[in-house]
C-alpha cells in the first residue's frame, strides 16, 4: 500500500526531533530562570533612608514622640533633661513594641517584653535595652538622627555624647 505509514524514524530524523525537543526544553528552562532572576529586582524597594532631620528640639514635648515611628522606626524621647532617638525594634526577636502612654512603657506584642520610657527592659524575655541611635544638632540647630550608628546600653555606650542631646 502506498500510503502505509512508516512507524520508525531513521537516524537523521531522530536527531532532528531530538534537537527540536532539547532546544524547546532549554528555552523553557532559560525563560523560567530569567523570570526567577527578575525577582531579584523588585518593582518596589522598601529602603528607608538611614538618616533624617527631625526639627528643632523645642518641637518636642516631654515624653515619647511617635511622629517618626512609621517613617523611620524611631521614637524621639525627651526625658529627664535629655533627648534621644530610640529604636523601635524589640531586642528579643525584633517585633515592634507599642508605646502605652497610660502605663508609661513600651510593650512588645509578640512575647510581652516591656521597656521603661528610657528604653531599659524590665519585664518579659528581652535580654537588653532598646538601642539608641546617633542624635546630634546640625548647623541650623535642628536635630539630626543617624540610624547607622547604634548605641547599646549594656556596652555602656549611652554615655557617649552623640547618643543624646541635652535640652
Amino acid at each position: 500500500m502506498a500510503d502505509e505509514k512508516r512507524l520508525s524514524l531513521n537516524r537523521r530524523e531522530f536527531f532532528g526531533h531530538l534537537a527540536v525537543g532539547w532546544s524547546l526544553f532549554a528555552a523553557a528552562t532559560g525563560g523560567l530562570l530569567a523570570l526567577v532572576f527578575r525577582f531579584t529586582f523588585p518593582n518596589v524597594n522598601f529602603e528607608p533612608t538611614m538618616s533624617f532631620t527631625a526639627g528643632l528640639p523645642s518641637d518636642y514635648e516631654k515624653g515619647v514622640d511617635e511622629r517618626w515611628k512609621n517613617a523611620y522606626g524611631v521614637w524621639i524621647v525627651k526625658h529627664e533633661g535629655i533627648l534621644f532617638a530610640l529604636s523601635n525594634i524589640c531586642t528579643h526577636l525584633g517585633c515592634v513594641p507599642n508605646w502605652l502612654p497610660g502605663e508609661q512603657k513600651f510593650k512588645c506584642p509578640c512575647h510581652g517584653s516591656g521597656y521603661y520610657v528610657t528604653g531599659v527592659n524590665y519585664e518579659g524575655p528581652a535580654p537588653r535595652p532598646l538601642e539608641r541611635f546617633k542624635i546630634v544638632l546640625n548647623s541650623e540647630g535642628k536635630i539630626f538622627v543617624d540610624k547607622t550608628k547604634i548605641y547599646r546600653a549594656e556596652k555602656g555606650e549611652w554615655n557617649n555624647s552623640d547618643s543624646f542631646i541635652t535640652v
Partner: protein, 357 residues
Amino acid sequence: MRELINKLSDPIFSFPGAMLLYLALLRYYRIFGSKKFAKIALVVILGLVAYFFADPNFFLIITTPDNIPISILFVLVSFFTWLTFHKAAENDKRIEQGLCPIEGTPENREKVWTWPNLVYTELFTIIAGTTFLIVWAILFKAPLEEPANPTWAPNPAKAPWYFLGLQEMLVYFDPWMAGVILPGLIVVGLLAIPFMDTNPKGNGYYTFQERKVAISFFLFGWLVLWLYLILIGTFLRGPNWVFFGPFEYWDLHKVVAENNVNLSEYFWIKGLGVSMPKNILLREIIGIIVTALYFVVGLPVVTKLWGKAFLKSMGQIRYYIFMFLVFSMVSLPIKMFLRWLFQLKYIIAMPEFELNL
C-alpha cells in the same frame, strides 16, 4: 465560678495541674483506656464545652477561624490518645495472662491485598480530605490584611497555630535558646529515637507496660510541653502577650505587674548588696555554676537513683545522649517555674555576647 476558672488557668496553676493529670493518666491508664471512662468523659466534656461556650468572651476566641484547627487538634489528640491506651490496656492484660497481643492472633495476622483494600481506603481519604478543605475554605474567611508595614506589628502578634508552642517558649528564653537550640534539639532528639531505643518490644502491637519509659517521656514532651503550650499560646494570650483567663475580655490595657530580674542581679545586688562586678564571667558566675551543677551533678545523681538498669541495657553512649536530651527537655518547665515563682529572667545573662540562658 468563672473567676475561679480564670485564676486556675494561669500557667502557674494549670501547668502543675497538667503535669499531675499526665502522671495520673500514666498511673491509671487502664481506667483511662476503658470504654466506660471514655463515655463518662465524653458526657462531662460536652457539658463543660456547653458551659464554656455560653460565655461570650470565650466564644469569640474559640470561633476565631485561626483557632479552629487547634480545637480540632485537641479533639483528635484526645481521641487517639484514648484509643492508644485503650488498645494498650487490652493487650497488657492479655500479655499478663500469657496470651499474645490482639494484633498477634491468627485472624489478625491474615494478609490482604494492597489493591483494593489499601488503595480504596486511600482514595476515599483523599476525596474526604478534599471535600473537607473545600467546605472549610467556603465557611471560614481568611481575608487579606493591610499591606505589610515593617514599623507596625499586630497586637497580639501570633505565629501560625502550629508554632504557638514555640512562641510561648520564647516568653521564657532568649531567642537563641527557644528559637534555635531547643527546636534543634527537639528535631535531633526525635531523629535519634530509633537509634537510642533498643527495646524490641511493642513492635506491631499496642502496649504500655513493655515500653513504659519510652512512651512516658515522649508523651510528656508531646502532650504536656508542646500541646499545653500551644493551648496557652492560642487561647490564653491576648494583647501584649499578657495572660488572659478563658472568660476574660481581651482588654488592651490590662496591666500586669511583672518585673523580671536576672539571677546575677539577685545574687549581687539583692543578696550581697554590692554592685555588679565589671567582669562578665564573674558577674554571671552563679548562673554558670548552677547550670554546670544541673548537668554535672544532676546526671550522676539521676543515674544513681533511677538510671542504673538503663545504663546497663542501653550502653554508655546511648544512655548519656538520651539523658542529655531528657535534661534539656526538663529544663524548659524548670525555667518556666523559676519565672513564675521568682520572676527570674535569665540564669546566665550575657547580652554583650547575645548569650542568655
